[in-house]
Amino acid sequence: MSDATQTGPVLAADGSPLKRSLARTLRRQKLRALLLISPLLVFVLVTFIVPIVSMLFRSVENQIVAHTLPQTVEALQDWNPDAGEPPSEAVFEALYFDMFKAAEAKRHTQVGNRLNYEQPGLSSMFRGTGRDLDDIGEEFEDVFVGIDPAFKTSEFWFELLSGEGGESFLDDRRALYAAMLGESMRGDVGFLPSAEMVSLLPATSAAYTDFAIWTAIEKEDVVAEERPWEAVYAGLGVDLRSPEVVAEIGSYSGPGADILKAAVASRDQLPQASFQEMFAESDEDWLDVEGWRTMSLYSPDYTTGYFLNSVDLQKTIDGVEARPETQQIYIKLFIRTLYMSLIITGACILLGYPVAWILANLPLRTANVLMILVLLPFWTSLLVRTSAWKVLLQQQGVINEILVWLGFVADDGRLVLMNNATGTIIAMTHILLPFMILPLYSVMKTIPPSYLRAAKSLGATNWTAFWRVYFPQSVPGIGAGSILVFILAIGYYITPEIVGGTDGVFISNRIAYHISSSLNWGLAAALGTILLLVVLALYWLYDQIVGIDNVKLGG
């Protein structure tokens, strides 16, 4: 009994403090519970949360420009977009080598398509010039081979450019590739750039190293046995344009020194045109400042451009401004989506409330039969139901035929019930009605009929009894049904597409268009994110006004 009066912590049977022992048991229980739900948790995480987050991430992601044209983007930093002049020769030179590399990997057209969303015309500019890149290099190649046939052989280039000390250079080039392709590009290249050559012939070494990495890792060929890209010849041409390089070659005595010196001696035979001129010859739009402004605006890794587009704004070099009126559409669609969803929710309440009331107050056997009638359309394919509405609503359709037959409308004055907002509202109200009736029914089922009788016996009229006694108790059902219907309606896409015509389509139809037709997934993601945020905001608002605790889906 003396134990009871001791002042230390209460001990469990094994002698450890009871508090800790309890906490341990609780933790174990929680872990076990977590373990039980973990398959579902992992499933939801992997198949639902992760894809959605990664999709939404696309709304700001814009790495494709900087990853595909890294040296161009860097060189473009020095360009002044306001000056009204196309960028300097250094930018075009960088662009040539970036684009050649990208064209080998078939990535240049992707950049073209990305930029084309912002400015029409860039897609064909990138695609067209991509075809001419080989020709530009061949102009150099022909001259070099004319100077010495050794330039044609794979061994010459391999011996000339390989050596020691170029590990970090190789790794840098490899990292650029890895960023562009999103692959690690690890593996043995079978070529190590010579540090001496990297400093003597930087452009040549860079082009050849890129060629080597691509050949060894992607094509799985042996570098020493393959003829280099045309870009390598262009690289040597570029290097020989620099007087310092020419001077240094004079004192160079490594492998291929004689041939290199012969090339230096005849370098005035090489194409003298600047890369700017060569690009302009391929497509004169390369000199267009607007295109370069777009490229420089969309060169950072992350962009607000997609979000601005989705609220009818656009990015310009002077900052954000409104889109021209002829292109404004998204704000209108967002508002229309919200407004029409509200109308549909309202219509569902008006139609669903009496039905739910009847269901809740009929004998169980009859109620069940009627319930099947409510659920029956629910079990039919959405597409079939919507198409059925088409048959009913069209001008030569069932409803109009009956109205004309009854003489309510003239034959040439048939009602336009579909291919407009009316069609969308009618069809969607019908389709979403069960989502309103079911929660209402389950809530009404729990309201004891004796309350109404009590109210009436205390002298209330039918209306007062309903409005003061019955209706307040059914509000949680209305809340639950409204949330369900509204949120489903806001994301609807098939029904508006089929019966909505032009003024009955929702924002989701544009999202679908950008996902499957224009392939502008960034814009689709931005629109989707905004839609999600709007729904969350409305949910929060609802919670503030009605209170989410008042929502009941059942019992």
């Binding site: 992707q110 029409p120 695609r127 559409i329 209108k332």
Partner: protein, 373 residues
Amino acid sequence: MKLTTTLMASTALVVAAGSAFADGHAKMADSMTVVSWGGAYQKSQQNAYTIPYKEMHDGLEVVWDESSAEAVAKLRAMDEAGSVTWDVVDVVAADALRLCDEGLAIEIDPEKDLAAAPDGTSAEEDFGELLVGDCFIPQIVYSTTFGYRTDMVAEGVDPPSQICDVFDLEKYPGKRSLEKRPINNVEWALLCDGVAKEDVYDVLATEEGQQQALDKLATIKDDVIWWSAGADTPQLLADGEVFMGSTYNGRLFAAIEEQKQPIGMMWDAQVFDLDGWIIPANLPEDRLHRAMDFVKFATDTQRLADQAKYISYGPARASSAPLVGQHAELGIDMAPHMPTDPNNAANTFLYNYEFWADYRDDIDAKFQAWLAQ
């Protein structure tokens, strides 16, 4: 972890066993997923291509997927997920160009990968300028053109025969159905607004030209039902919902000749477009061999001519045209129903791939904003 390893090991075993059986077929996969458009078109492909091909290759399983309408988006998603389940995909030329741009389709060498004509003409020459882009293997020429209700033409009025009749509400009152996208509609609008045919794309490349086209379309906007599926217009015509509407010529052929609807063809200013195959990039070797083998077979001269027995689309090879015969079930001559027939092709357009690759998004944004006004 352990389960996955076991699963993978047993899959590998099955695959190994499968390939051991397939030795005779020079490492070609035993199953092939072909993606097409469904409906009568896919049926014509089955009759002309896969049924004879399966007779030649015992035990080959062909799975059809009707996803061509979303092929580009789905292929991109598959590529990002790292598992492409399709082997041969039927797409329109514009989509083939985009798949090629995105690196999602392999490049084709017509000389090596496609069959020469029976008279020895090379595939490159036989297909001619229909070889759009580097990845596209043309199959048929189809056209987007107009059909009209013959019984809804007012008495004493000639049936519509000019593209501008579409814009003439006085002579031809009634609703029209047009596709819910700018392509084709803006060209027709400009043609009927006094722009010469050869200038259409130069004009469309300017802001003013685009506005001009939309303004012309605005004159009939209240009487247009906009369609998004190829089956819409034939249905709208059959129901008498519209007086005239644009759609693919094969759909109109089916409505006129097979369903005997009172519909007439109006071929003026029809827009030619191409449909054909692409092979997705990054296929495993055995599936790639199978796909290449199939495509070479399915696009030879006889096979393309055979397809025209089932549907009124023109074969993409010049050498197939003389072989086009009669409809397999109706027994009518198919040649007069081909969009390429000289009587039908007096005034035609060819879908301008380069232009629309550049301007599609821009003009579509304006078009949709205009529709929503």
